[in-house]
Structure formats: structure tokens, C-alpha cells
């Protein structure tokens, strides 16, 4: 599937940027191949517009905010949150132009991030009760582009079989490679998977979890929110909650912006945020090294012959099937380069 070729993917909310980045001024982002500019107006609203002035196509993200308007850096044409041009400095007697001349997109602020939907969203941004709840803290972890498709990261995160190999130096036990099979329960626009995963407990994790055992068990409740968002709730035997939210926001067909933060049920005194980030960083780097080597054009049709499968691939195969159903429900078929390249080879 080539994400930018499937219009229905424009109808989901994606976290695109930590809010503190836009306090410094308008910021550019590319979402599903669409160049957008993010900014905050004087009323305090976060705004997403197309990053292109309709006059001479300059990037509005190179401009600045003036009250409730975004000013183009080229000739000073100014736009409000709806994309209406409210000022053309070269025509001081006018009040700008009629009509919304710059496309604007649904934009909101949640969990410390700016979220954008390019077209009318099919599903709401998930409610995570830990946000602002007493006994929980939120730790911002990563914000970086990866050269891989979002679906690869989603499948990876629900795939209990990769732990023994990819994470053999952090928490996977390579000598016991048989993966526990999760139970999967469908939800609107996603599913929840549950499994208990025995893992190796490294020295850094002994501190982070305040548990000296050589091995521990992760009780995992993992949500997949279509198309590229997950919530990985790990509960350790001590009752400690480590809840990782990861989005692979699609930049274009080949690249994803990784947005990750976590909720923890302990305190900074129990485990410093920097140590928690350090461990999750090592794990994430292990995934990244492998995933950036994969083909971004993930085949949704499991019978296409492009990839082989095994039973532990089930969560990923369910994702592929649900995405195919989503496409079909919106009158789309899977867009991919595989069939074209195979036809050329034959």
C-alpha cells in the first residue's frame, strides 16, 4: 500500500508535532505528502493551513504570526485560521480577498501535541484516562522521522515473535523463541490485543521497575488505532504501569514521523524520566535499524505472494485485512507498486 495514494487515510487524526515547537513561530510539516504549516493564533488556537501562498507559492511556514493572522514572508499577504486572506499590504484600502484561498485542515491540541486531519475524520482522537489523572505522569519520549512505512511499525509493535531476535540485547530471550499468541478483540477502527510476554530483566530495567528478578512478565494490553497509532499498556507483576503511545504519522509513502510518549504510574523519585527514556530509546533503536531496511510498500493482500507468513504474524495480518476492508468501504482498492513491477519483470 502506498499511503499517499489512498485518500481515505486523509480522514484520520495524526499527531504531527509537540506543541512547544509552534510557540517559537509557524512550523512546516508534511502529512501524507501534503505540505502544511502549523501555527498558534492570538486567540490561542492551533491552526493548520496548506503551506503555500496562493500568490506566488511561497512557504507560509517561513513567515510569521501577526495577531490572528499568518503573514507570508514574500509580500506580506496575511491569512486567518480559516485560510481567508485578510490583508494584502499592496492594496491598503482593501480588507484582503474574498473566499478561503488557502486550504485549512482540522487541527487540535491533545496530549501535548498538535493533531491534524486532512479530511473529515472518521474516528475521534482516543481518550486515554491517564492524561492529567493523579498517580500518572506523562513523559515525552521521541519525535523523529524514520525511513519506513507506518504499517511496518504498527505490525512490529504487535508482533511477539520479533522480541527474541530484534531485542535479544535488551529484553528478548533468544533461547526461547516461541512467541505467546495474543487474543485479539475488534474495536471500531482498530482492535485490542492481550498477551502475557515473559521477558529478560536487564540491569537498567531492574532499577526502572524496582524489581531484581532476572526475568519478569509483561501483561500487555495493546490497542491499535487505525491506521498508524498504538497504545501499548504494559503492566508488570508489581502493578507498575508503563503505557507507551506511539504514532507513525505518515510523511509520505516512504517515511513516518515517530511521535512517542508514555504514561507511568510511578514517580520521578521512583524512576527518573531520563532512565525510562534511555531504556525505551535502546529498544526503539533496535526496531528502527531493522524496520528502515524493510520495503515501505507493504502488501495488504496476504495472498499476493510478495511476503510469506507464520501464525505469530496474525495481528499484522488482521491490520492488513481491516485496512483492505476500510479501502473497500470507501470505494478504493489497494495502490501498490508490486504488481506493476512484477508485470514488468514478466
Amino acid at each position: 500500500m502506498l499511503a499517499t495514494h489512498q485518500p481515505v487515510l486523509r480522514r484520520f487524526w495524526y499527531p504531527v508535532m509537540p506543541v512547544d515547537r509552534i510557540e517559537a513561530g509557524p512550523q512546516p510539516f508534511t502529512l501524507l505528502g501534503e505540505k502544511i504549516v502549523l501555527w498558534r493564533n492570538a486567540d490561542g488556537a492551533v491552526v493548520a493551513l496548506a503551506d503555500r501562498c496562493p500568490h506566488r507559492s511561497a512557504a507560509l511556514s517561513k513567515g510569521w504570526v501577526d495577531g490572528n493572522a499568518l503573514v507570508c514572508p514574500y509580500h506580506g499577504w496575511s491569512y486567518d485560521a480559516s485560510g481567508t486572506c485578510v490583508r494584502v499590504p499592496q492594496r491598503p484600502d482593501s480588507n484582503g480577498l474574498r473566499g478561503r484561498v488557502v486550504p485549512s485542515f482540522a487541527c487540535t491540541e491533545r496530549y501535548g501535541h498538535v493533531w491534524v486531519a486532512l479530511d473529515e475524520p472518521l474516528a475521534a482522537i482516543p481518550d486515554w484516562p491517564e492524561e492529567g489523572a493523579s498517580g500518572y505522569r506523562r513523559i515525552d519520549q521521541f519525535y523523529e522521522p524514520w525511513r519506513c512505512a507506518g504499517l511496518r511499525l504498527m505490525e512490529n509493535s504487535f508482533d511477539n515473535a520479533h522480541i527474541h531476535f530484534v531485542h535479544r540485547n535488551t529484553f528478548g530471550d533468544i533461547n526461547d523463541p516461541s512467541p505467546p499468541q495474543p487474543t485479539i478483540e475488534p474495536l471500531p477502527y482498530g482492535f485490542v490485543a492481550r498477551s502475557d510476554v515473559p521477558v529478560y530483566n536487564s540491569d537498567l530495567q531492574k532499577k526502572n521497575l524496582r524489581d531484581d528478578s532476572a526475568f519478569t512478565v509483561r501483561h500487555i494490553t495493546a490497542h491499535w488505532y487505525m491506521p498508524f497509532l498504538r497504545r501499548l499498556h504494559i503492566r508488570y507483576p508489581s502493578g507498575l504501569d508503563h503505557i507507551i503511545i506511539t504514532a507513525a504519522t505518515p510523511i509520505d509513502d516512504e517515511r513516518s514521523q515517530i511521535v512517542q510518549f508514555c504514561f507511568r504510574s510511578d514517580s520521578e523519585a521512583d524512576a527518573p524520566a531520563s532512565d525510562i527514556i534511555a531504556f525505551d530509546r535502546r529498544v526503539t533503536e533496535e526496531d528502527r535499524a531493522v524496520l528502515e531496511g524493510t520495503d515501505f510498500d507493504v502488501p495488504l493482500d496476504m495472498h499476493s505472494g510478495v511476503e510469506r507468513h507464520m501464525p505469530s504474524d496474525q495481528p499484522g495480518l488482521v491490520m492488513r485485512r481491516l485496512l483492505l476492508e476500510l479501502l473497500a468501504a470507501h470505494g478504493e482498492s489497494e495502490q501498490t507498486g508490486h504488481y506493476a513491477s512484477r508485470a514488468a519483470a514478466e
Partner: protein, 350 residues
Amino acid sequence: MLVTRQRILRRFWYPIIPSDRLDGKPHPFTLLGTNIVLFRDARGAPHALIDRCCHRTARLSQGWIEAGNIVCPYHGWTYAGDGRCVRIPQRPDGAPGKNIAVEAFRCCERHGVVWVALEEPLRDIPDLPEYDDPAYRRVFEFYEPWDAPGLRIMENSFDNAHFSFVHKASFGIIDDPEPVPPRLEPHPAGFVMYADVPVKNPEIQKANLGITADRTMRHYEKTWWMPFSRKMKVTYPNGLVHIIMTLTAPIDDRRSQVIQFLLRSDSEADAPAENLVRFDRQVTHEDRAVLEQCDPDVPLAMAGELHMPTDQPGLEMRRMLARLLAEHGEAEVRGDHAHADRGRLARSCA
């Protein structure tokens, strides 16, 4: 010619890596735009597979070797040298199902180099009797990627007119820019070219050659190993033989991986290897600086570039490659820019 678009070029052996550099680890390489991985099995025999696991497309080259098989870094699927999957760790007994495999390519070792052919080779790797002749010593020179296509490197190597300019600081005589026409003869590998070329003999070469004169003569016997390798045998007036093997493999439409080593008829006591490499490196740096700025899309037809009589060996290569394409039903594929260049050139010549 865009090499990755000419299927017939997949039917040659290409030199991928010096044998001693392929050790216990998987080695990734891109050959004609195809990502491959090389590794040695338990007996030490080299193998080449597609660098893409058939399960979730991970790079096998990021994995490791276990008992002569390559292990995928993602889920541990394990492949033998022939591409067969021999283990899926998640299955109860580890046994893979039937017919699970990745594509394997022909791979062999000759002349101290590991070679790969993506499809059935049209011809064998040429013989190199001096490699196994005890009268010759072997001196490794370098192994590196150049941002230039093999055909430019080959033409350069058979072009006696560039010495006076590109190599004016090393052995070329800029006041003597008109080379004697070479003699070309057919050869099973491609062709062989004979020429006698007077050259400058700088201080470092006086020691390297045991020749004290300020100028000397090179008797060349250069063999083109179609498509992108060469054997350059230089005999000096004192009988010394200096053979430069320049073996190149096409990475993609722009880049080549270059292996260079020497076979010399003298001994380390006569001329330390270090000094031989130093002089040849000066010369290859001079070539590389120019070749990396040339258009990688070399036209096989006469149109598209201007020519002079000394270009004959290169033009013969182009003719032979064009004939090869025609014999296999292929047309030369060129980049879009080539048409614009041709138009510009035609106008400037008009």
C-alpha cells in the same frame, strides 16, 4: 546507456569484493541496482542471496551467520547458501514449510576475488595465469566505490591521449600530446590493445622501476574484460612487468565498486609495495577526479558526443556493447536528459 535497464548486463560475472574481506559477517552489496548479501558457508564457500527476507522484507545483511547459514535479524528465519529457508524458530520444531526460499545468485571465487552473476553468465571469468605464477607477487591497491560508470573507467584506461593532461603531474608528457595509434586485436574476453608510450619517470618511479632515466617507455598490453574490467600489462625496457588489474562492478546507473591489485615480476626488496601503491594511487586519484564529473549515461551510438581518432578503443567498446544489446533484442536505454544534451550538442556544432 543506463546499465540497470539493460537486462543482458545481468548475464556477466562481476567482481564484488576481495576474498579476504569476506569474513564471518554478512556483506551487503548493490549490483546493477539489486540489493544482495554475500556470506560464507561452513566450508568457506561464498554465496550471494537477495538482501530481503521473504517474510517481512528485512535486510538479511543486518543479520548474522550461524553454522554457515544466514539469520534474518527480524525473526530469525535462517537461509542456506542456496537460498532455502532451513529454520523458522517460531515453529515448534523449527522446520520451515516447503518451498520457502529467497532468490540465490551464482557466486564464485577467482583470482582472489568473489564474483557474482545475477543471471546465467554469457562467458567465463577470463584466465589470469600470472595470478598463480610464483614469478609474480600480488600487491593489493584499493577497494572503493567511484561515482562513475564502468564504461567511463574502461574507456579512460584504454585512451592513450589522456595521459598528457590528466596525468601531467605523474607520468604524462604534456608537450607530447599526440599518441601513436594503438593496435587492437580480438580476444575472447573483449579485445586486447598493444601500444608503446613514452612517459615521464619521476623520482618515485625511478626507485619503483629500477630505471634512472628521466623518461622511459611503457610497452602496453591491455585486455578489456567485457563489460567493465581490465588487465593492464606494462613491460618496461629493463624487462620488469607491472600488471594492474582493475576490476569494477556496476552498483547502479552512476556508481562502480572498484578493486585494484598488482601482479609484479620483481620482489619486495626491489621495490616496496607501499611505494608502488603510493604512485598508482596518485594516478588513480587523477583519473577519478575527472571521471566522477563526466555524465554517467554514456551513449553507445556515435551521436551524443564528439570524437577523435584516439578514442578508437572506447568506440570499439561502445560498438561491441551495442552489438551485444542488439543480439539479445534490447535497445539502448538512456536517461531523459540525454535527449536534451544531444539537442544542445547538435546546436553548438551547427
